[in-house]
């Protein structure tokens, strides 16, 4: 019986994994095929990978765009982790009558869809551009700043902080650490897994973000990878082989980061739910 059920489990799981991995596989295979073969639905690897890659490099400035994407994603992640973890820590550890009101107000901001914020936000950056063009429209800073503090991430850190033992903080204070010292020397090392999970979430969101960068980045040399891929598909006769190659390149960094931090990610997510 147990053998039978394990056979069943294995078949079911294998089928499920094939279904979930198929689009990914098709993407990789398609990047090695000619555009015509991609539209025909060819599933065998072809020999066109190098040609696709070459024509991708010929048609677009891949490297600067890649660097833009990396800059934005890395800086956003660093800033967001720093801000959100400080805020989450503060909300949970320090006592204040108003903090729950402030917190629910913060959560409310998660309910507003971005489409509604876009025009006012754009207007705001338009005005900023007059005074400080270095962080105004058409700068990478304009992409980074609005996403560097998100209510979700603060919420995520606050939830995880709930299981952080307060006795250690007391011990640290008694041993003469400053408040910031407690945060840096005790909190950060203990919460490594939470940081890892948050880093993946933020990095992925920033790496894949589309609408705001699209609107605020005007010049081609500041474009990010998602914009570049969207442009590739815009022609009357798009080259699907080249598009797939670009998508593979865009997928690699997030996949890589996920695999590196996978262990912590799982632990971090578990921690915040507990």
């Amino acid at each position: 019986m147990s053998k039978l059920s394990s056979i069943f489990t294995y078949t079911f799981l294998s089928l499920a994994s094939i279904v979930s991995i198929f689009p990914f596989l098709w993407m990789v295979v398609s990047s090695t095929n000619k555009s015509v073969d991609v539209t025909k639905g060819r599933l065998l690897p072809g020999s066109h990978l190098l040609e696709n890659f070459r024509s991708l490099l010929d048609t677009v400035d891949l490297i600067p765009v890649l660097i833009n994407s990396i800059k934005i994603a890395v800086i956003t992640t660093l800033l967001a982790l720093l801000i959100a973890s400080l805020a989450g820590y503060g909300f949970e550890i320090f006592k204040s009558k108003m903090k729950d009101y402030v917190f629910s107000f913060l959560l409310l901001s998660m309910m507003i869809p971005f489409a509604a914020l876009m025009v006012p936000l754009f207007r705001m950056f338009g005005t900023i551009s007059e005074a400080a063009p270095m962080i105004g429209i058409d700068t990478l800073a304009a992409v980074i700043l609005p996403t560097s503090a998100t209510a979700f991430l603060i919420f995520f850190f606050r939830q995880s902080t709930k299981m952080f033992p307060r006795e250690i903080i007391e011990a640290g204070r008694i041993d003469g650490l400053s408040e910031l010292g407690v945060f840096i020397r005790i909190y950060i090392p203990t919460m490594k897994t939470t940081y890892a999970a948050a880093a993946i979430i933020t990095f992925m969101a920033s790496w894949n973000s589309y609408l705001w960068p699209l609107v605020v980045l005007q010049s081609s040399e500041k474009h990010t990878l998602p914009l570049l891929i969207s442009n590739l598909g815009s022609g009357y006769s798009p080259d699907f082989g080249v598009i797939m190659t670009a998508i593979v390149i865009a997928t690699l960094p997030t996949a890589l980061i996920f695999f590196i931090l996978q262990k912590h990610f799982v632990a971090g997510m578990m921690g915040s739910v507990k």
């Binding site: 555009s35 015509v36 991609v38 539209t39 025909k40 639905g41 048609t59 800059k71 890395v74 800086i75 660093l78 800033l79 720093l82 876009m118 025009v119 006012p120 754009f122 207007r123 338009g126 005005t127 551009s129 063009p133 270095m134 962080i135 105004g136 429209i137 058409d138 700068t139 990478l140 800073a141 980074i144 400053s178 910031l180 010292g181 840096i184 609408l211 699209l214 609107v215 005007q218 010049s219 081609s220 040399e221 500041k222 914009l227 969207s230 442009n231 598909g233 815009s234 022609g235 009357y236 006769s237 798009p238 699907f240």
Partner: protein, 430 residues
Amino acid sequence: MKKIFALLLASLLLLSACSSESKTTEEASDTEKETNELTVWTWDPNFNVKAINMAMDTYNKENSKLKLKVIENAQADIVQKLNTSLSSGTSKGMPNIVLIEDYRAQSFLKAYPDAFFELSSYFKAEDFAEYKLAPTSLEDKHYGIPFDTGVSGFYVRTDYLEKAGYTVEDLQGIDWNKYIEIGKKVKQATGKSMISMDPKDLGLIRQMIQTSGSWYLKEDGVTPDLGDNEFLKEAFTTYKEIIDADISKPVSDWGQYLASFNSGETASVLTGNWMTASVKQEASQKDKWAVVPFPKQSGNANSVNATNLGGSSWYVLNISGKEKAADLLAKTFGSNVDFYQDINKEIGAIGTYKPAAEGEAYKAADEFFGGQPITQDFSKWVADIPQVNYGAHTYVIEDILAVGMQDYLKGKDLDTVLKDAQKQAEQQIK
């Protein structure tokens, strides 16, 4: 403590690193704008981007040196960006020249009347195909210089036709009944579908009703014309007949649509001439294709064998640099016959500038289509396209109709479907 400060400093440094760099380019572009740099927003690197760059080269041969900064974005993205910048009232980062699809043009011209620069004095409107002028102008003022035509063709596989006992001559000037009859024979003889259709995309319906000079909206460009529109009714009936005759192949997206004829599974493609490049993509099908005039509607004596799908025009924004941008467009797209020959040879673009049809490139034979001079044929049909007022709501109405079409195909009464669509459209367009 040190660590966190290092982190803070590092991020600040990085932030300022990317901003200081953008500052310099910003300053540079500001000063250059005063002199000679113009920004252009457009889509499709192989078509529109090449066309505007060629325009700059042509212009610079005889005039002061202009520099173009062409920013490429997908069409839907440009619409999004333009809407956001225009409605926020910030002219920061706006382009000098932008390409807008004809179906969408009126919505921009009406919503932001002061944002566009009037071009009436820069080109002779009567030199352009009449049907292009309605979407590009507002209250008799011309705001757009017409660019490519979306003149439709009926691309057909001659080898399949032969097997079914037809020649290309049999397809000249036919109506939809004849089309379905031929389709059935082709299916019998070859087992191939006559046409592929995407249920979400009613481009075929749009093309059908324009052959009769009708549109989703009445001539004022505002009142929906769905409930009592006999041409739309006929188009819906034809659409259903095609499906009932089992000569169509359903596709669900653009990629599948292209694949359906690249793989040789469908015998004809009825769409705008910009599809030529995609048809040619499958080189093994050389000499197997021909282009014939679009079928007309049988229920209307005035229906013609010419219609249109898509096509776009260039607009100049009302910001500094507008005169230069207008001058560039006027001296190329607005009046230059040789320029039109060049862009036809280079990218296959067919304009709507009437005098250009006399040029030699337009008369050249196309090897892929068995030596047929397809550009000449297309531009002959351009002159016959009935003028309609696209208005500002083509895609809003199309979304409503696409749902209606599904109801109709499932058996709902056609009059009710169209009346309901009329009501919905009236509610949405106000």
